[in-house]
């Protein structure tokens, strides 16, 4: 081959490669671990798996929506319940991925862990095209969850004080049954009636099942619902005390916190006296 042709061939290839870079950058629209998701691929998956509830515009007005008690997420409004980011900010790709993985406890959103990882990241990339907010706002900065300190009775008792001081009982009730004085009038941001979590009847939360998830729930708030963020009013060490206490309210769920609490006389009496009734969403709870 003649030198001249090689040169121009290399030049051509170089230009071709460079011109493709923007396309490559735009195509990588979601990133979770080693997976990259693309909205085009996600679009077909959405219209196969998701639109029946979430609607063809993604606004939560799917065919099934009128029959669902907890309404499907409105992706156009882009207010998300389960985040690791502060209240009012967009979730990270990881948050969205975890949400699809777990599903939403006590709602009609199932776990989509049956889909391959690539499908799930593609779906997330597509969901991010449904609202103009993703163009103007960046995802919030995830909160720092400090390492969990040692579980002690003192921690549980301090958490109990916080539960009183922060007035969690106003909605969740003194025993955490979800029957507090404000519980029966709660409405979500679409003016739909909603009940607070009933710790006694539940084992998993809307946004996960671990202590870290519980920590994140009350620090970031559950956007779109009455559950506010306590980020400005709870110090990180205190937040862990509250987590430990809340676990002792979950009397149907075996946890180290509950076991430790029951090993005390006071704790054993309290747990034994709890009547388990109602469902985690609070329906059936007498007001």
């Amino acid at each position: 081959m003649r030198t001249g042709n090689m040169k121009s061939m290399r030049l051509f290839l170089a230009i071709l490669a460079i011109s493709m870079l923007p396309a490559l950058a735009a195509a990588q629209e979601s990133r979770v671990g080693k997976w990259s998701g693309h909205a085009e691929a996600g679009k077909q998956l959405y219209f196969r798996y998701c639109w029946g509830c979430h609607g063809f515009r993604g606004d939560g007005n799917g065919e099934n929506a009128p029959y669902l008690n907890i309404l499907p997420r409105n992706f156009v409004a882009a207010t998300f319940k389960c985040r690791s980011t502060p209240t009012g900010t967009l979730p990270t790709d990881d948050d969205l991925y975890n949400a699809i993985d777990r599903g939403f406890n006590n709602s009609n959103m199932p776990s989509w862990i049956v889909l391959p990882d690539q499908n799930r990241v593609d779906l997330i990339a597509f969901i991010k095209t449904l609202s103009p907010r993703w163009k103007t706002d960046k995802a919030g900065t995830p909160i720092t969850v400090p390492p969990e300190p040692k579980l002690t009775i003192a921690s549980i008792k301090h958490g109990q004080e916080l539960f009183q001081k922060l007035e969690c009982w106003k909605c969740h009730g003194q025993e955490g049954y979800g029957d507090g004085p404000s519980a029966s009038t709660l409405t979500d941001s679409n003016d739909q009636p909603i009940r607070p979590y009933n710790f006694a009847a539940g084992s998993r939360f809307k946004c996960g099942a671990t202590n870290q998830d519980l920590y994140k729930i009350f620090i970031t708030g559950v956007d779109g619902t009455p559950m506010p963020s306590f980020a400005d009013v709870v110090k990180p060490e205190e937040a862990w005390d509250l987590v430990h206490f809340l676990r002792t309210l979950q009397v149907t769920h075996k946890s180290p916190e509950l076991a430790l609490w029951e090993s005390t006389t006071e704790g054993a009496e309290q747990v034994a006296s709890k009547k388990i009734y109602g469902t985690p969403t609070g329906s059936g709870i007498k007001q």
């Binding site: 009012g88 922060l166 007035e167 004085p181 404000s182 009455p226 506010p228 963020s229 400005d232």
Partner: protein, 237 residues
Amino acid sequence: MRMNPIHAAGLAVLAAWAIVMYAAPNGGTISGTVTYEGTPAKAKPIDMSKEPSCAKQHATPISTETVVTGANNALENVVVYVSAGAPDQGAPSQPVKVDQKGCQYIPHVLAFQVNQTLEITNDDQTSHNIHPLPKVNREWNKSQPPGSPPITDKYDKAEFIPVKCNIHPWMHGNFAVLKNSHFAITEGGGNFALPNLPPGKYTIAAWHESYGDQTQEVTISGSETKSVNFVFKAKSY
């Protein structure tokens, strides 16, 4: 060098006009009254028995504030503002404040500008959660126990935003986030005044949380006061 007398006269006229237009501090004013016709629904007393610390702050229970009226059919809490004809303005540096006292938002309607700092305080002995419900701006929800520092935030888009407290379902407020500084909220007499308007053609809008919004076109040519009135149709429910 002597100036041509015609030129001098022209300059004098120009100077006078400039003084009147730009040196005069006030510009034109648009003022008027907002009233209603028909029979509004009666305001109902609010039962605060679920929150004794607030109930005892009101010797007689307060009434719902979604429609507040005054003498001669005056309509209070109407936000009157310039919706077109004035340029967008940067936010003033001082914050606007809303307080929670007696389980009420004071004031019931707060008007401020895009990107102006909003400061929310809790003067009650109970926790409140501040839950503004925008559709265009981002929605957040924060707990504010008694004795906490003020919560500050701001909105970057113009919008009328209802505000509620989930713990106390009777608490309702409104934020009016506006693009310029020409706004007023009607009080007992239903009156409003929008001063300092340079000459131009303006669209004046009036918004009420229950009765909707209306607009009128007004032209200001100098420093006159133009009168504009709004009449809202009351709903009986």
